[in-house]
């Protein structure tokens, strides 16, 4: 079959479909209004929830690594039993002492080359006491290379005072700790790693990450000084990494485990609650979208079903004049598709406006942006849903017996 008859038939179908829609102006406007409201709700709610979630995730991940690579836990090794013997064991788990990742330089080199890791930072971290005058606080010492570490957590952006400088006897501490110990930049702070390992450092900067626990406990030092205080000369206890796609962290952690023989701990494991909340929220959004979509589709279907009945005689006369079944079918499918496309186009614009209104007059906790693909995607789905919704009435129209339809009153 050549293309010409197809094109001319398509022209006819478009003409009839458009005229039918325009002829039933009130019906068309009402259902367009329905589709518009439905798609505006879908676009708005999707943008808000996406914005909210990415905001929450950004805030959470702003203060932690995506994947932490840790040494394997120490465990008891059991001597093999002689064959045929049964043993009853009572095992006390080993205490997990602070220890270094062996050959961590090689591991860092390896991870540096991994295409999906955007930042890798070896860190030595462990407990210590911070003393200033008579005040003391238990802290977490974090020794790192600032250039690498800042790509994991950009501390400089959260500094309240001073600079993010850790070399040569300098430390950077959190705002809560600074208040507890009454410290300002330039003040001295004594750090006690236990067993007589002590150092006095200058407070070079004070940061506030907005997470109380971190602001009260983190003391950033240079790698070497922390290693000395924690009695891990030349060692690191953890390698922090960032990944290109945050929700792939779990899968990448498993891959890193296989690659290095170490333990990979993704943010998704350590933030189970948050992730759970995000997933439930996404599911709720999906449900709302699905049900709004279904009611819109049913709206289209019912309007077209009424239109098919109203136009029974006209369909009969079109068939009598030689309009093939397929042509009648496509006339009504097209109407469904056009309604979906047009309604969702207007609805998308309204949804976008609502988002702007939300940004200007809303609570202002976070900015919502409408992803550029969202509205075209909504229009495509609505168009397909419209065609699908039209299927039943269109089939009915196409299968009218013209001899009966013509006499329909």
């Amino acid at each position: 079959m050549s293309i010409r008859p197809l094109l001319s038939s398509a022209w006819t179908e478009w003409l009839i479909a458009l005229r039918f829609l325009l002829d039933n102006r009130m019906q068309t406007l009402l259902i367009l209004f329905g589709i518009t409201v439905g798609s505006a709700v879908i676009v708005f709610i999707t943008a808000i929830i996406t914005g909210l979630q990415s905001n929450v995730v950004d805030r959470t991940l702003g203060t932690q690594a995506h994947i932490r690579v840790l040494p394997l836990d120490e465990f008891n090794r059991l001597a093999p039993l002689p064959a045929g013997t049964l043993s009853l064991l009572r095992e006390s788990p080993r205490a997990q002492r602070l220890r270094s990742i062996s050959n961590w330089q090689d591991v860092v080199t390896l991870l540096d080359q991994h295409p999906r890791l955007t930042a890798v930072s070896p860190v030595v971290s462990g407990p210590a006491l911070a003393l200033s005058g008579v005040a003391r606080a238990s802290v977490a010492l974090i020794g790192m290379d600032p250039l690498r570490y800042e790509r994991i957590i950009p501390i400089s952006e959260d500094l309240l005072a001073g600079r993010f400088r850790v070399g040569a006897g300098h430390a950077v501490i959190g705002s809560e700790l600074a208040r507890d110990l009454g410290l300002n930049t330039g003040d001295k702070l004594r750090l006690d790693g236990g067993e007589g390992r002590e150092a006095v450092v200058d407070v070079a900067g004070i940061f506030e990450l907005g997470v109380r626990e971190l602001d009260a406990r983190y003391v950033y030092l240079d790698l070497k000084q922390a290693q000395t205080l924690l009695a891990l000369p030349g060692g690191v206890t953890v390698i922090d990494t960032r990944v290109d796609e945050i929700f792939a962290a779990d899968e990448l952690a498993r891959r890193i485990e296989r690659l290095t023989g170490l333990r990979g701990e993704s943010w998704m494991e350590t933030n189970g609650q948050l992730l759970n909340a995000l997933r439930s929220q996404s599911m709720t959004t999906q449900m709302i979208r699905l049900f709004v979509g279904i009611s819109v589709a049913f709206g289209i279907a019912s309007v077209l079903a009424v239109s098919v009945v109203q136009r029974t005689r006209e369909i009969g006369i079109l068939r009598a004049m030689g309009s093939p079944r397929g042509q009648i079918l496509r006339v009504f499918l097209l109407q469904g598709g056009l309604l979906g496309l047009l309604g969702s186009g207007i609805g998308g614009a309204v949804g976008w406006l609502l988002v702007q209104v939300f940004n200007i007059f809303g609570p202002g906790l976070f900015q919502v942006t409408v992803e550029p693909g969202l509205i075209p995607a909504a229009m495509l789905i609505a168009c397909l849903a419209g065609v699908l919704a039209a299927a039943v009435p269109a089939r009915r129209a196409a299968h009218y017996d013209p001899a009966v339809a013509i006499r329909y009153v």
């Binding site: 001319s8 398509a10 009969g316 068939r319 309009s323 001899a403």
Partner: protein
């Protein structure tokens, strides 16, 4: 043979065949229509006129016999073929004019051509306009069907039936819905078209006066042809 437009051989139609509701509507209909014939089909209600017209119009399939349209057998044709034959060889005029309200008068006339080949050519539009002129409605070309009178709508329907230059035009009670003066003028139009375009016309009518003005009248009673011949002119 080339002068024959339609031939019916032993046509029968039974509805609900093989069930308790079986109804034999037409039996053993034999009929030939020549080119350019103007024929009236008359008969009482329920005699099977509309069923016969549906069969001839390829809108329905006979349960017995064979129907030849321009020499081509049609009974075993599929729906697509019958649909195409309707478009190419037949013109329809119905009692309730059945114009499509979403289109203008001119577009309604063009509709069979639009269905056949999409966007109408300039010649097609020209032809449609000349047909509208023929039925005396050229100035209403851009009106909607709802904006013109019943008699005018029926004239538009006649122009539409003629736009494909069909060899056979079928009319089912074309004047049944019109007052007697309008009916007479519509019927005059049929006669004029018959002479001018040379197409065969088969008109189903209740109106004995209109039937009388056709050169040939076929009478159907209880599903059988009881008379077929020259009309007897009505006494004045």
């Amino acid at each position: 043979m080339s002068d024959e437009v339609l031939r019916l051989e032993g046509i029968g139609k039974t509805f609900n065949q093989g069930t308790a509701l079986e109804a034999r509507v037409l039996q053993d209909i034999n009929l030939r229509l020549g080119r350019g014939e103007l024929t009236a089909l008359i008969g009482p209600s329920g005699s099977g006129k509309s069923t016969l017209l549906n069969l001839i119009g390829l809108l329905d399939v006979p349960t017995a016999g064979e129907l030849y349209l321009q020499g081509r057998p049609t009974r075993s044709s599929d729906d697509a073929t019958r649909t195409r034959m309707r478009n190419e060889s037949l013109g329809f005029v119905f009692q309730f004019h059945h114009l499509i309200s979403a289109f203008s008068v001119l577009e309604n006339v063009l509709m069979p051509l639009i269905i056949r080949s999409g966007r109408p050519s300039a010649e097609a539009v020209e032809l449609a306009r000349s047909l509208l002129q023929e039925v005396g409605l050229e100035r209403l070309a851009d009106k909607r069907p709802t904006e013109i009178s019943g008699g005018q709508q029926q004239r538009v329907a006649i122009a539409r039936a003629l736009v494909t230059r069909p060899p056979l035009l079928l009319a089912d009670e074309p004047t049944g819905n019109l007052d007697s003066r309008t009916a007479a003028s519509v019927f005059d139009l049929f006669r004029r078209i018959n002479e001018q375009f040379g197409c065969s016309i088969l008109v189903v009518t209740h109106d004995p006066r209109l039937a009388a003005s056709c050169p040939r009248t076929i009478e159907l009673v209880d599903g059988r042809i009881v008379s077929d011949g020259a009309s007897i002119p009505m006494p004045p």
